[in-house]
């Protein structure tokens, strides 16, 4: 790691640097992915038809330490794809992502909790999955359970008995508990009630005060407005606009209402 740091030209005040990033999904269009089908096709000399989806296209972005970046955009704009690639889950098809700091993720679809186990067990599992040691997570379990603040004893009940908000509370509590340098949240706060939202906003502000970085993907524009210092608007895999969070959400809202892109952005 030390050697890397000397080789890589990354300003110390940056948390994430994205250079010319493209991510392409390859989708096998018309067959089931089985060995049987592959052999049948090969014997007939047919080619497998592939469709490619360019989810992110030639994107450049620097995110400094201590900033809260909001990402807005229509369904399928590539927001989740971008988040997964920053987290190191999806490799770039082209370009490069440099990340400086410990990442914690709370991405769409939830955490992969085991529904048969209790909330407490899942906290341990979630912590280990995101890279904490057994001792670290054991020391924090009570704190996390307290933060999630589930009603009467639910924390020791199987997760399958949870409401989606309760589920979201536990997941969020785990994600912030590991005091990440970079926190990636994809639609993470949508299920929480007002009280929990308040609490999570406070916690995120604390993280920012410690010069930690947060990236938020949300369709709740008010959340983006309230929390973020900056925002980008993604459209078909590209950055359509960037700047102040209030300004971007305004523009995006206008687009949603009117349904046309701002005239100066029409070339996208």
């Amino acid at each position: 790691m030390k050697k890397n740091r000397m080789l890589i030209d990354m300003p110390a005040d940056l948390a994430v640097r994205i250079e010319d990033l493209s991510i392409t999904y390859k989708i096998n269009v018309d067959t089931k992915k089985t060995l049987k089908n592959a052999i049948m096709r090969a014997s007939k000399g047919e080619k497998v038809r592939m469709r490619t989806v360019e989810a992110v296209k030639h994107m450049n972005l620097d995110i400094p330490h201590g900033s809260v970046l909001g990402i807005v955009g229509a369904n399928g704009a590539g927001k989740s794809t971008l988040m997964r690639s920053i987290a190191g889950i999806l490799p770039p098809t082209e370009g490069r992502i440099t990340v400086n700091g410990k990442i914690s993720t709370l991405l769409a679809l939830g955490v992969g909790f085991n529904p048969a186990l209790s909330g407490r067990d899942n906290i341990i599992l979630g912590g280990l999955a995101s890279g904490l040691t057994k001792e670290e997570i054991a020391a924090k379990t009570d704190e996390i359970a307290r933060f999630a603040d589930l009603p009467d004893g639910f924390i020791d009940m199987p997760v399958r008995t949870y409401s989606s908000g309760m589920y979201g509370r536990v997941a969020f509590a785990v994600a912030v508990a590991m005091t990440p340098d970079i926190l990636l949240l994809d639609e993470a706060l949508s299920a929480g009630d007002a009280a929990f939202k308040e609490k999570s906003f406070l916690r995120m502000r604390e993280l920012v005060q410690e010069a930690r970085t947060i990236v938020i993907v949300s369709h709740a524009l008010q959340t983006v407005k309230d929390l973020c210092t900056h925002a980008i608007w993604m459209h078909k895999g590209q950055i359509l606009a960037k700047g102040d969070a209030g300004e971007i959400t305004e523009k995006y809202l206008e687009f949603l209402n009117v349904g046309t892109l701002p005239s100066n952005l029409e070339d996208f």
């Binding site: 740091r5 999904y25 330490h65 410990k102 679809l109 048969a116």
Partner: protein, 317 residues
């Protein structure tokens, strides 16, 4: 395209970037502790050293994943655990009946030795089979964990292997109990219960585990690309069982036929295990070497095949 840069309002002086003055005027470290670079790859290995370090530092995750999977599975029924032992035990008896009927029966002592051989062979074979088939499915069933967390994916098949090992452990006392009881009634049976040769068991089991784990890596990768791999595997393992010295004895083979014992990746382990438990003999040199060779081959091939493709898994799952 112009390089977009989001400026922080409270931007610190660029040179000293490591420290940061926040709204409260406190100077805090920006903790630039860990730099990671993600770049494109073409079915090639990531930096092996870094991968291994990451794998090693997070091995605990595998263990806990196995523990919790066990816990989840047996939360409802405690009978489940009993079945794990009962199932191979009953199957062993079925196979034993089959073998004796086919052979046209034999004297009691010899029959009991055959039973013991089938028992320990089948238990050991099932250990390897579970490592392989559970491991093969560990990636495709890893769903959200794989989509939402970054970690060395080898930890998932490892977790399956750990669970399989835990299931294997209790079958050994079952074998010993059966043999002890049997020897009580049929003292003539030529079975050693305890011998110094047992000291070889850890080595044999370790090599067998590595061999099976390496193959689990291969099948797990294949299963991502071809979802019917695991179904195919269930037929393959059955044939594999018949090709292994479990239902027959290694010494039934002569001349070049003995090659079957070594071409089969599980062959050396299974014949060595039977030799140790039944005869109390140390494994032969050929077996000791065969064990190590298969373990190394499986780990190198499996490891390369899996690790060089694992960054694709999230896209294809």
């Amino acid at each position: 395209m112009a390089h977009l840069r989001l400026m922080s309002e409270k931007k610190s002086e660029p040179a000293s970037g490591a420290s940061h003055v926040n709204d409260l005027g406190h100077v805090k470290e920006a903790t630039p502790s860990l730099i990671q670079v993600f770049e494109p790859h073409k079915a090639s290995l990531p930096p092996v050293g870094a991968y291994m370090r990451e794998f090693w530092s997070r091995k605990r995750f595998s263990l806990e994943l196995a523990r919790f999977a066990d816990k989840a599975e047996y939360l409802e029924s405690n009978l489940g655990k009993v079945w794990l032992v009962l199932n191979p035990l009953l199957l062993a008896f079925v196979y034993f009946l089959l073998v004796t009927v086919l052979r046209g029966g034999s004297d009691k002592a010899h029959g009991f030795t055959t039973l013991a051989h089938i028992l320990i062979g089948l238990f050991t074979f099932y250990f390897a089979q579970n490592v392989i088939s559970d491991g093969a499915q560990s990636i495709t069933s890893g769903g959200r964990l794989i989509l939402n967390q970054a970690f060395p994916r080898t930890l998932l098949p490892l977790s399956s292997a750990i669970r399989s090992f835990w299931q294997y452990i209790p079958t050994i006392p079952v074998y010993i109990v059966v043999v002890v009881i049997g020897k009580f009634f049929i003292p003539k049976a030529d079975i050693h219960i305890f011998s110094w040769a047992l000291l070889w068991i850890p080595y044999v089991t370790f090599c067998l585990a590595l061999t099976a784990f390496g193959m689990a890596l291969i099948f797990a990768t294949m299963n991502v690309y071809f979802r019917d791999t695991s179904k195919l595997l269930s037929y393959t393992t059955r044939i594999w069982l018949y090709a292994s010295p479990v239902l027959w004895l290694p010494e039934m083979l002569h001349g070049w036929h003995r090659a079957i014992l070594y071409v089969n990746p599980l062959g050396p382990a299974l014949s060595a295990t039977a030799e140790i438990w039944i005869r109390g003999h140390q494994p032969t040199l050929a077996q000791i070497i065969g064990l190590a060779v298969w373990a190394v081959i499986a780990m190198i091939f499996g490891g390369y095949f899996f690790i060089s493709r694992e960054r694709d898994f999230a896209v294809r799952i």
